[in-house]
Point group: C2
């Protein structure tokens, strides 16, 4: 941790207390003048710091801005989110994360941006990611798993994002197969998993996560307003992005360790319990065929199972799923 | 095709006949002087061309050198091998193929080299690839298949390499799971499949193939001489590398089209029929466990099935397999 991170961590650990310059200088291993200089830097970064003679410093408010120091302060994980690259504006966080992974970035590295000018969803579709109102991030992981199991990581991530949003906001989010998070009939988050592998070894995964956090209705183009929403629109109040990212990192680390140790079964059950898809009548468009039936669950590998009217159960690996009105 | 390729194609189609300068100039759409100039260039490239006044040109011998013109002349495929990048010396053809794929190289593109200074096998292991005596190549394909099926492409490639070698040399090659080609107890070829994908779409595969073709015993370092061999050592005569590459391209295209259309079943049966592994007592070292038992076959997805002494059948995704002496 650098000095700024140590100071933010101290503020985080003792949220309402004044901390003396002397105490901070001991924590940081630097002079009180250096502490004062870093405090000035924090103010320039948008932090509101109260300084009272003989009492010390107290954090009044942090800026609504994603930074490595904010994400790592008080994070409490071993790996996930411990290394953060935060950008103001990028085309997309995905290729930056691929670059970092190729150059050896450790497992758990997060790439964040306030604004993406060319964000992409699955199958190369555009993803609207306006400035400052969302979480646009890419997570690097290096699981030692066989290639056929990597789609399970997408389902795992959906479980983690849904749980993070539920715990942080209380909103009733659901997972739409394979990797969208919905509130009611509107999408609030998309997940895109990309990977580099050889046939019996995964080199790394880059998991892209886009969450509409504090967007208001006017932020959505007309064609998106009908099908997309944000946590703020649904909850009626702004949501702290840093806290949501930190909660996600902790939940992800916990489920990911569970997955590596004990496999997919419990994640599958959790996914099904919070699914928007299972039990519904669906119309499925794969690359090669169109299929109607009822989504009945995931198989042990995480493939969607759809039973058609004749009773035949189809395995669906990759498709667009739409919901049909009840007969 | 450029003019050199048209000339080589004409020589290929009429192997022993003299072809007149007039005829060639019509085929190429250029002057007889231009034909003559290209013939001089072919000679500089190492081709032995006989020229007889009033009869024309005849190809006596082609150089033992991998070039795009040689591979594509008379190839007879739709996609596989139609685009070729041939190098004298590279670190490895794999990263060059990744670069080409990222920049949009069409399916079937081949990257070849006479010498690799840093060739790699699976799991990052070094692969010995000396100058001029082998086929060191990477093939780019873009199959529209779900991610969990990509390891089947490695098994498909092994079937194709084995069939190519059998048809071209008559040697009794066998496939060792997952991706090595053996003659007797010695390895003659390794296959390494790498890929870039998202969880429901394969962007591209780069299939690396290394075949020891014309190496003699002295070409192998002492530690390899016990476990590796070449087609020349086994057959007692040099093998034409271009013809072997061309045969592989045709066989691959045929099996690959079959795979995309009709799935894995017939490839699985062919793999099993030529396997060095199935039916043998094996010792299996995976990342997490050591297992002893009998290799009994592949499952429908292409995963190796090993039955231990208690009768339990294990699925083996990624492992090193060794053979045990019979009890």
């Amino acid at each position: 941790m650098n000095i700024k991170q140590v100071i933010l961590q101290a503020f985080h650990d003792q949220p309402d207390r004044f901390i003396s310059g002397e105490e901070l200088s001991q924590m940081c291993g630097c002079s009180r003048t250096a502490v004062w200089k870093h405090m000035e830097e924090l103010r320039r970064d948008g932090y509101e710091v109260e300084a009272v003679r003989k009492s010390g410093y107290r954090l009044v408010a942090a800026p609504d801005r994603l930074s490595a120091a904010e994400v790592t302060a008080g994070l409490g994980t071993q790996r996930i989110g411990q290394q953060v690259f935060a950008y103001d504006e990028v085309i997309s966080t995905q290729p930056l994360a691929h670059d970092a992974a190729t150059k050896g970035a450790p497992e758990g590295t997060l790439v964040l941006a306030e604004l993406q000018t060319g964000g992409k969803g699955r199958l190369g579709r555009p993803w609207h990611s306006p400035k400052g109102s969302g979480i646009w991030m890419s997570l690097i992981v290096r699981p030692v798993i066989p290639l056929p199991k990597t789609p399970q990581m997408t389902l795992l991530t959906a479980v983690c994002v849904a749980q993070s949003i539920r715990e942080e906001t209380g909103l009733p989010v659901k997972i739409k197969w394979p990797n969208d998070i919905f509130i009611g009939d509107k999408k609030v988050c998309g997940i895109l998993t990309e990977l580099h592998a050889e046939s019996d070894r995964v080199h790394y995964l880059v998991i892209g996560i886009g969450i509409n956090v504090n967007s208001v209705s006017a932020d959505f183009p007309a064609d998106l307003a009908q099908i997309a929403t944000s946590l703020r629109i649904e909850s009626g109040q702004p949501v702290n992005r840093i806290r949501l990212i930190q909660r996600f990192c902790r939940i992800f680390e916990s489920w990911y360790d569970h997955f590596l140790q004990d496999g997919f079964q419990q994640i599958k059950e959790n996914w099904e319990a919070h699914s928007y898809t299972i039990g519904r009548d669906v119309s499925v468009q794969t690359i090669s065929q169109k299929l109607e039936g009822r989504a009945i669950g995931l198989d042990e590998a995480g493939v969607l199972l759809v039973r058609d009217e004749s009773g035949h159960v189809h395995k669906v690996y990759s498709a667009d799923v739409n919901y049909r009105a009840k007969h």
